[in-house]
């Protein structure tokens, strides 16, 4: 952190920002709100609300789950630094989403629909007591969506694990969330988003969350370059046991992620939960079978990776495919991801935790293949498979294009202005000691 020591200005950036937010928040908090309760609004559906509240909690559970999954895969000296990437997303996006992110994502179109905005939504003021047509309080929806906004940048972190500065990372995810996530989210889920209008199907965020994270991760991995010594030195996961715990929590949390995206508690929810369960199992099964054939051994990381591939591929499709289709998607996703990772190893770039290899690939597979597996009657009005495939392709391509371009710009700027890539010595000594002044497993030393 020498750079920092020489540069108080940079050091006080966080403080400054903090005070700014604090100040604004205080003003807002103390100015009495205009009475926001609308004369009459739909009655609350306590059941649907209960499930959405639960889903919100379940998706939050995915963040520590992800921290464990990623944290266990890196080397011992970087375990805390890697977990911090997930937790930092909770802290930073957690605040940012409420302050302005939600307003950008779900406000009415501005700037020709590039993004939305509604000043009333700043600090979620105007939805303090409103209830949506589904009988769910708008705040619940805002929080549920907020979890998606939190987890997406956290996913990216896996691509450049073990080699970024914490401050640079923090600034990156904040800007990425505002400039990449909010627009994408608006396009796909806001009532007037152009992809929604176009009839693109993305039930729970295959494009918004997984493709955007996968692509941005790939771009970042290429821009920042490989870890020192990669691939010459074998870099062993420090804790595969924790990886398994993490993937377990991810699976559980994903029920909220997908089934919650039905914004109800009924048949559609049941269908989403069912295919999520099935696709995850199928993905895991396929992956370990592939390993068994290729290496005569099934690995626990393979099991975990297959689960993840299955969960990702079903995400955009959870609302429209049936169990048999979910099995197909799970199998196909694992096959594709497995291949993609082998290919990566040939190409030799360092997408450290295979964010693109799994989230990117499986996300695209799901977004496109769902077209062929749509439940009878779920196909948008008067569309045939080919037409729908086109629309899906549009969603995928625009996501890839937009995410990659903005991401690379952000990376360059942040690297120049604040510094992002970790220095060689710091990288050698490890993030935990250098950036955080801690060690993950005190138990290893005598104390």
């Amino acid at each position: 952190m020498l750079a920092t020591q020489r540069d108080p200005v940079r050091t006080f950036v966080p403080a400054a920002l903090l005070l700014l937010v604090l100040g604004v928040a205080m003003c807002v908090a103390l100015t009495p709100a205009a009475a926001t309760t609308l004369p009459e609004q739909p009655p609350v559906d306590t059941g649907a609300t209960a499930w959405m509240l639960t889903s919100t909690a379940l998706v939050l559970l995915m963040v520590p789950g992800l921290a464990m999954f990623y944290g266990g895969l890196v080397r011992t000296k970087n375990v805390l630094g890697t977990m911090m990437h997930s937790f930092a997303a909770m802290a930073i996006i957690g605040v940012l989403w409420v302050v302005v992110g939600y307003a950008l994502a779900f406000g009415p179109n501005v700037l020709g629909g590039w993004v939305g905005f509604d000043p009333g939504l700043l600090f979620l003021r105007s939805i303090d007591t409103t209830v949506s047509t589904g009988g769910i309080p708008d705040l619940v929806f805002a929080m549920f969506q907020g979890k998606f906004a939190i987890i997406t940048p956290a996913l990216i972190a896996g691509a450049f694990a073990e080699r970024v500065k914490f401050r640079g990372y923090a600034i990156f995810i904040a800007l990425w969330s505002l400039l990449v996530y909010s627009p994408l989210c608006h396009w796909v889920w806001a009532s007037d988003g152009f992809l929604l209008q176009a009839g693109a199907i993305d039930f729970a965020g295959g494009t918004v969350v997984h493709i955007s994270a996968g692509v941005s991760g790939l771009v970042a991995a290429l821009y920042l370059g490989a870890r020192r010594g990669y691939p010459r030195i074998a870099m062993h996961p420090n804790n595969l046991v924790m990886v398994m715990m993490g993937v377990g929590l991810l699976w559980v949390g994903w029920f909220g992620f997908n089934a919650g995206s039905s914004l109800s508690s009924g048949v559609k929810t049941a269908q989403a939960l069912t295919v999520t369960q099935v696709a995850a199992a199928a993905g895991a099964l396929a992956w370990v079978c592939i390993e068994a054939v290729q290496h005569r051994k099934a690995t626990s990381l393979g099991m975990a990776s297959g689960i993840l591939a299955g969960l990702v591929v079903i995400t955009p499709a959870a609302g429209v495919v049936q169990p048999a289709g979910a099995i197909v998607l799970g199998f196909v996703a694992s096959g594709l991801c497995y291949g993609a990772i082998l290919l990566k190893n040939r190409l030799g770039y360092d997408d450290t935790l295979d964010v693109f290899g799994i989230h990117g690939i499986a996300g695209m597979a799901g977004a496109l293949l769902l077209t062929f597996l749509i439940r009878a009657g779920e196909m948008p009005e008067g569309r045939d498979v080919i037409a729908q495939l086109g629309v899906q392709g549009l969603g995928v391509v625009s996501t890839i294009g937009y995410a990659s371009v903005v991401t690379i710009v952000l990376l360059v700027v942040i690297q120049k202005v604040f510094g992002l890539r970790l220095g060689t010595t710091a990288e050698g000594a490890g993030m935990d000691h250098e950036l955080h002044g801690e060690q993950g497993y005190g138990l290893l030393n005598l104390n």
Binding site: I233, A234, H236, P237, I290, E291, Q294, H295, K297, T299, L301, G302, S305, Y338, I341, L342, N345, D354
Partner: protein
């Protein structure tokens, strides 16, 4: 007196320990180490075969009187081999030991071993 240090494969620790006890070597100190030698191991990571360049081993440290050196070595040689001897079975190092002191009693030399 000698200090005998043996590097063995982890899965042989129990057998070696038993053998030493039969040879009436009752006191040992053991630790986890990793080693690099001729042996090649192989692990899997997302479909790739990875060759860890340090392989887990167990290190035994045994202080003995001259008379016990050979019995100790024989016991280890007898118990630490995989089959007829496999690459990676390890090594035994023997060093001079000038003094041994039992902390409990303060006694020194051979009797303290």
């Amino acid at each position: 007196m000698k200090l005998i240090v043996a590097i063995i494969q982890p899965d042989k620790l129990d057998d070696v320990h038993q053998a030493l006890i039969h040879a009436e070597i009752f006191r040992i100190t053991v630790s986890r180490v990793t080693g690099h030698g001729q042996q090649e191991d192989q692990e899997l990571y997302r479909g790739e075969e990875v060759k860890p360049d340090l392989i887990p081993k167990v290190r035994l440290e045994i202080a003995v009187n001259e008379a016990f050196v050979e019995p100790t070595v024989t016991a280890i040689l007898g118990a630490a081999k995989h089959g007829e001897g496999t690459i990676g079975d390890g090594k035994i190092f023997i060093m001079p030991l000038e003094e041994v002191i039992r902390i409990r009693t303060g006694e020194r030399g051979g009797t303290a071993i």
